[in-house]
């Protein structure tokens, strides 16, 4: 069995050499996350994750959860790890300081979140959703709501959920039917929500549901949706703790995430489900979407995380499993399968993609940090736009790839990969929801095409392209042969990206269906090329600043060779997607 070890070196590299964590640390007024401290922080998180979360992961997968008398029962080990998680202070890293949080910037959050998600996704998703609820209340709640709920959510005493989907309203929320009625100064909620992750559990004292519903006489469609805070327990005027009228109708039997309860919740069957309005009436969807952008980044991080975990297990297996002979050593001695070039190639596919994805998530998180810190400046707005452009790509590309990467993780194991006890199959199963939830990857692709490419009149996209071209140019002109190879490939792929984007944008006005047919392959192409860009930047920074002494020869050589592999393997196929993008629409009438 292979235990999880946080990829501390690569995270530290991403934070200090791809992002500028010292800059963010200064802007945040937080020395805990400076380059001097952040490595220790990541190491500590890694230690906690290994001991308390990874160790109970397969038990959770195996035993799952139970619905007893209308309440969800988590495995005991999850309950005690949740307690440790709170006590150690890890739960509270995202909230604002005034409410007891540690207010870590997103650059650091994505690294630490990756660690939790690698070690135990069914467990970590609770924290991820609570971070979302905290963000929603911080942004849109009134003072009394903030004071009442934030300290308990930030400490982990309470946890949070998101209630959007209904049986007939999945991707298309405009059709949602849950109703809210004013009753005294509160609201009563009535309706059924599905796919509510951690919709009930017995780890936290209380659960704060963030629920989308319609007020009476609300306009139809998206503009008539309001956001409500609906607690599992609330205090009545006499201070008595009342169980709210929320019923767990059922829990889903899923492909993965077995220890993460996915609930059907019925609100207000007896007309006594009490909620509070968050923000303005009919502005709920907008509020939800500000939060959702960062949630989408977090789902991208889940993709990186499950891939990393799968990689570590496959690597460890390949180092141990003896099978067959190598060309070099001949027929005298059986070798560990890691000596077979095809096994090495599979593992390097995994590693190179993971490092590119991780670099991209940290870079995207940094743009969010700058946009938060510089929010009132022109620069801040530019960063906000850039993060908006990148987020759907991170969400979709990293999660699509996570399914392929965890599949490779199984393949490395051979027959044992198909046996559940080995553990590799769980990551494959767990990964499969990621391209679906928080907006399917198809929706991310349409978001990129219809809204993000045209941000700031297309300037955001253009400026990003300029940056990428600069990196390609610098690589091409570097002395190291590997770098010039990568630079050339990056340059070519950017040309295809630009041409594809122009075609899509023009077509979007003339024949939107034709353009939409190319949206997903375009997002994939963009993801691969951004990945190539990140790897080129990583190698360039090592070469330009002669980092071998600081980071060690091994790390630097590995990074440059991994980058070379990434660029020679994936950039040519990414460029070739241009054909798919421009031609897909021609044949779609076949499907009807």
């Amino acid at each position: 069995m292979s235990a999880y070890n946080a990829p501390v070196e690569d995270m530290f590299f991403a934070l200090t050499k791809l992002a500028n964590i010292d800059n963010i640390s200064k802007l945040s007024n937080n020395t805990d996350i400076s380059s001097d401290s952040v490595k220790l922080l990541i190491e500590e998180a890694g230690k906690f994750a290994k001991e308390k979360l990874d160790s109970i992961n397969s038990e959770g997968d195996d035993k799952g959860i139970k619905l007893e008398n209308g309440l969800v029962r988590m495995p005991n080990s999850f309950i005690s790890s949740y307690k440790s998680f709170i006590e150690s202070g890890w739960f509270s890293i995202a909230g604002k300081k005034q409410f007891g949080g540690q207010d870590f910037p997103w650059s650091v959050l994505v690294c630490i979140n990756e660690i939790w998600e690698s070690a135990n996704m069914s467990f970590a998703v609770n924290n991820m959703l609570t971070q979302g609820a905290i963000e929603l209340i911080q942004e849109h709640g009134n003072e009394s709501q903030k004071n009442l709920y934030l300290p308990n959510l930030i400490s982990g005493k309470y946890s949070g959920t998101m209630n959007l989907t209904e049986p007939h309203a999945g991707s298309d929320l405009s059709d949602l039917k849950t109703k809210a009625t004013i009753k005294n100064d509160k609201y009563t909620i009535k309706g059924t929500k599905i796919y509510i992750t951690h919709g009930d559990q017995d780890m936290s004292e209380n659960i704060i549901h963030m629920v989308l519903a319609r007020l009476p006489d609300a306009p139809e469609g998206n503009r008539g949706i309001s956001l409500f805070l609906v607690p599992k327990y609330y205090d009545d005027e006499n201070g008595n703790k009342i169980k709210n009228d929320i019923k767990v109708v059922s829990i889903e039997h899923k492909l993965g995430h077995n220890a993460s309860p996915t609930c059907v919740l019925s609100f207000g069957e007896n007309n006594e489900c009490i909620g509070e309005l968050i923000g303005e009436p009919n502005c709920g969807l907008k509020a939800m979407f500000t939060m959702m952008n960062n949630a989408r980044l977090n789902v991208g991080v889940q993709g990186v995380a499950i891939s990393e975990r799968s990689y570590q297990r496959a690597l460890s297996f390949a180092r141990d499993r003896k099978q067959g002979f190598s060309f070099k050593k001949g027929k005298k001695e059986r070798v560990n399968i890691i000596e077979h070039p095809d096994v090495k190639r599979m593992l390097l596919e995994m590693k190179s993609q993971i490092e590119a994805m991780r670099g991209l998530t940290v870079f995207t998180a940094e743009t969010i940090d700058y946009s938060n810190k510089l929010s009132n400046t022109e620069e801040g707005v530019e960063y906000l736009n850039l993060s908006s452009l990148l987020t759907p790509i991170v969400k979709a590309w990293c999660t699509d790839q996570s399914v392929f990467i965890t599949s490779l993780g199984i393949q490395v194991h051979g027959g044992m990969g198909f046996i559940e006890d080995t553990g590799a199959a769980q990551y494959f199963r767990d990964s499969r929801i990621l391209p679906i939830y928080e907006g399917t990857n198809g929706i991310q692709a349409l978001d990129l095409l219809k809204r993000k490419l045209s941000l700031d009149g297309g300037k955001t996209f253009k400026k990003l392209l300029e940056k990428m071209k600069k990196t390609a140019f610098d690589c091409k002109n570097a002395n190291l042969k590997e770098l010039s190879t990568m630079g050339g490939l990056l340059e070519e792929s950017i040309t295809s990206l630009e041409s594809s984007a122009s075609w899509l944008t023009e077509e979007l006005n003339k024949n939107p269906d034709n353009s939409a047919a190319g949206a997903t392959p375009f997002l994939n192409m963009f993801g691969w090329i951004l990945g190539g860009w990140v790897m080129c930047k990583a190698s360039l920074t090592i070469e330009k600043n002669s980092l071998n002494k600081e980071l060690g020869n091994q790390f630097c050589n590995e990074k440059i060779n991994t980058s070379l592999f990434f660029c020679t393997t994936y950039l040519p196929t990414a460029s070739a997607l241009m054909s798919t993008i421009k031609h897909s629409h021609k044949s779609l009438s076949v499907i009807c």
Copy 2:
């Protein structure tokens, strides 16, 4: 819920327009499979599969199997469907007529096998393995063994298994340790075998295990392995039925194939496991490998089958599920998701790949048929070589793609895809063993590189390339614009294929590790380009022979548009794999 319907039209097209079933029918002296009869045959198989196999598939997945008192218990529905399967005569289509079989050629077998595997893979794999045992005994058994075992295996009264793998000997069989000792005129077997599919079950009266083991003083390695027939029950000299000394140690808890018992079998714990030698001593691996080539084609067919089933379910869901608005109809009316271009694109990815894979399996099966029918001629040897070249590609490419295709099948369902009750997830889980068993896809790639490319001094490969170039040329010069586009893309991709093959072949002699690093991407490239070739041939044949009247406008238009989609989507990325093939080796030292 969507019931399975056999893709009769497309199978009939493949058999009559891509292959020449009337020719095979004549050579086989079997009018049941002529173009006049074969459609009805496929329809009947489809009907049986729908009623008796597809209908119990999800129950099998859900309930699985049980090990009780050392015996495997199948779901009751499987036992009764097995009975119907035998009674209807479907079990016996593969065996020779003199032993009660129907002796269908492989072209037809791959279609009918696809039907069983689509409907219920856990069930069908029993028949697939029995076909393998029949083939082994037909080829290598002596007359008395043939007379004793073949009629019962062909009727389905008995079923067969393959016993190769041991805990320490997976892909590398040369290290296997199971022992056989001569005892009177029989042999006793001692050892443990793992991953024995349908290693025990209570559907057939007896189970005939084909077991690899070593005789005393056998040479080390592959040349010391013999093949034994080891029945679950045998008759002693007095005609008493004796239970052989074979113990089901455990059954595996797997990612998929839940109703297919995967057993650990212990032979001869009490030194009383009786077996018979099949063929010559120490020639067991060679015998197993002649059979395995066709078994590998059958696994490729499983890839097509599970993809087809996943596609049918996704298509049916997309036609029913209302969500969102279309560009065309505007915001007035919600549409079925099949109207969204991105959903259409996913479904067309599935459909186009399935049709290309099916065409390729039928084409490959036809080469086997010709090689069997013309076995003593030069032409026959050429066909044999061609089938040997194609088989690893069919096995690996069709099964790799089946994982991606069934993953798309989930994606089309959105959130519901992740819920087990929906049924889409089972296909994804079931597909995942296909790239692993009967030789991992990495091993197929090495087989292609090291043995198959150089068959007949490289002439087999060259002749295939000539055929493909001819098709590209004919397409380019056809009047239909779609065809000339496809022809151009096919031509370009063949150039990349040729260049990659030359590089790999040269490198194989100089630096075999470098060459091996490119083996898997080369096999994938070859698979895609063969798929493109098959689709080009399909479209060309429709156009050249004006088949619209015979096959209907809808079928012909769909086939041409599906081909166009396949070629514009996959041939450019296939060509781009040349970079991966030639560069992968440069960075592999990173993984150690």
